[in-house]
């Protein structure tokens, strides 16, 4: 693989933004369900979940799992909504 300038730029930005203490995947995982419900509800991320949000922004696997879970919740919510609500603009 060639480390192109674009890839390196992204790496430098991430490295410079690295904090001494970060949540790991094992620490983040137990909070993803709560975080997904908060996101689905359209609420701001509470302070208690700020480290979860930071980890999700950095870890591609946790990010993919979080976004997939939000998609699941959104589709289930849509399917279970009363028929008249599905006619309203989202």
């Amino acid at each position: 693989m060639t480390l192109t300038p674009d890839i390196l730029r992204s790496l430098v930005a991430k490295a410079l933004a690295t904090r001494p203490q970060e949540m790991t995947c094992d620490e983040c995982g137990p909070h993803l369900d709560r975080f997904a419900e908060v996101r689905l509800a359209g609420r701001d991320t509470p302070e208690a979940l700020s480290l979860v949000e930071a980890h999700v922004a950095e870890c591609s696997c946790c990010q993919e799992e979080f976004e997939a879970l939000v998609t699941v919740l959104r589709e289930v919510e849509r399917d279970e909504a009363p028929w008249w609500r599905r006619l309203l603009p989202s």
């Binding site: 730029r9 490295a15 410079l16 690295t18 799992e65 289930v76 399917d79």
Partner: protein, 206 residues
Amino acid sequence: MLVRRRPSPDRSNEEWLSALASDGPEAEAALADLRPVLLKALRITIAPRVDRGADALAEDLVQDALLHVRDRADQFRGDARFTTWAQKVAVRIALSELRRKRWENVPLDAVVADPPSAPEPAADAVLEEAETVTLVRRLIATELTDRQRTALEAVLAGMPLDEVARRLDTNRNALYKLLHDARLRLKKAFEDRGLTADDLVDMAGG
């Protein structure tokens, strides 16, 4: 025609946990209620990521997801809906399987750059764009351990952490820590050499 949709089973978190912890018909009924919930989560997750066979793969994985949920129900923290937690388990199982299938024939050395030849010292004045790129490449080669560099380059190439970890005989959590340490080393190296956001703008323009 109005299609009736089956709503999610209406149980409280405590009722789910109690039922799954019991033996006999109550646990069976809870698992039977949970099955369509997990199957739907699996289908929604898999369908956009494969060309065909999403339903079959979801059916293949649903039993595994049910067993995970039943066996790990004591890990549920209770700060979300139980079904959300169970859906999270199913999503992770689905994505792990998809990652494994997608990357199973890709060896690590196919995505990792060859070790650089003897690096040239960087200029200590204002760096030109190309020199900045050279500097960053040199720092990756000199500041990181071989294992850190390999892991970092594989992730930069798009290989999921799960799959990099499998190839390095470790796990995703330990790999994340390794990469975090690598980023901290690079951060210090960049800061020591005065590499700032302004240099990034230069690189973006190049």
